[in-house]
Symmetry: C2
Subunit: 206 residues, 2 copies
DNA sequence: GCCAAATTTGAACGACGTTCAATAATAATA
DNA sequence: TATTATTATTGAACGTCGTTCAAATTTGGC
């Protein structure tokens, strides 16, 4: 029966993702080996490959789950009509999440995909969902009809946040300490939002 | 004689870095293996380890050379008293460099260091040298005595640029295409600089 | 209970970073 | 120059990695 096959596949799928998450949180990227995950999940490497095809795809699903959890965390951020406050509320949650889930975040953004790996469509869509949350918070900074510009600005802010936090976390920024990531985020938001609102008022002078 | 020893070490050192650069440019991160570099450099893996200690250190020196070359490229950017123009000139050179040296840039920022790897002091110093170039271009946006704030703002802008370009290059930003990195950079600079100058004029009203 | 189909298994493969006893080359001494 | 002491180089070997696949096991239908 195909039904039972499906059920067993799903149980292996779920179990593998659970133990992969546990391993990643406890030991980081380096612990995420096929043999280790199979052992902790109570199956053989062959079964893992039967379900996921390869280790990269397993990590892809792990990242998908991480993105979902971030989305939930951001959904609980208080809203505000003031874009600067709304954006700051979001970035505070974002920073909190990446701090509390540092190793998972590391896997999410530092994992190197094979050059020819094709991402399933749902993966970039989940990232765009996050961009959408940020764009909604920034919407008051843009005139109606400028949804594209708003989305682009959200992408800029999102990428910038990522740059600050990843460089700070990995110590690749020189003397700038990792503790200053929060302060740097604040500088970014203040000035970027100020620039946007100035542009807005210049176009629609009161 | 220690002299001759030193000379041979240096010749292996230099040759290894040259072939490592060639390999990285042609094939990217994945081609940078100890056996491959040794083969191309005309020595054995043992000699490579005798000189560099480990492969991470070899890559560290490769990255150092890349940073030096970027520094030279930025030094040739035209200066301007207008901070926005000066910053844009720098970021254009930066984008040009990372595009022309995409694989080297990838190695520079995506290489995962062992958790306990200790960077030599000269490495973060080279990154700070780049931050200094950016900070000098932004200096007119800050009152005298605010050098620390200026440096921090430079670090924010630098990190943001890195976030935009790395996410765009690796396709980790969702639907945002890699071709839009340049446009996103422009959005970032315009609004960030506008925010900074607004802050400046608010403190020193004319 | 038996057979056919599907699933699970883990030994095996090639490649990786790294090590180190053996070899070769060099410097010092007689 | 011949011999010894020191140093550098070598590459086979170790353990681990992702991945494969023939064989063993389990499953579902009769």
């Amino acid at each position: 029966m195909a039904r039972q096959t499906e059920q067993r596949r799903k149980s292996v799928f779920d179990k593998a993702l659970v133990v992969a998450k546990d391993i990643a949180m406890a030991e980081g990227q380096s612990g995420l080996t096929a043999r280790r995950i199979a052992k902790d999940a109570g199956c053989s490497v062959g079964t893992l490959y039967n379900v996921f095809g390869n280790l990269d795809t397993l990590i892809l699903y792990l990242n998908g789950a991480t993105l979902d959890r971030l989305n939930e965390a951001l959904a609980q951020a208080p809203t505000s009509k003031d874009p600067e406050i709304a954006v700051r509320n979001l970035t505070e949650r974002y920073l909190q999440f990446t701090t509390e889930n540092a190793n998972l975040w590391y896997v999410l953004f530092e994992h190197v995909w094979p050059r020819d790996y094709v991402m399933p469509a749902w993966y970039p869509e989940r990232i765009n969902r996050l961009l959408g949350v940020l764009a909604r918070a920034m919407a008051p900074l843009f005139p109606s009809g400028a949804e594209q510009e708003c989305l682009q600005a959200a992408a800029v802010l999102w990428s910038s946040l990522h740059g600050i936090h990843s460089l700070a976390a990995s110590g690749k920024m020189g003397l700038i300490s990792s503790e200053s990531a929060s302060a740097m985020t604040e500088v970014l938001i203040q000035n970027f939002v100020a620039g946007l609102s100035q542009r807005m008022t210049a176009q629609n002078p009161t």
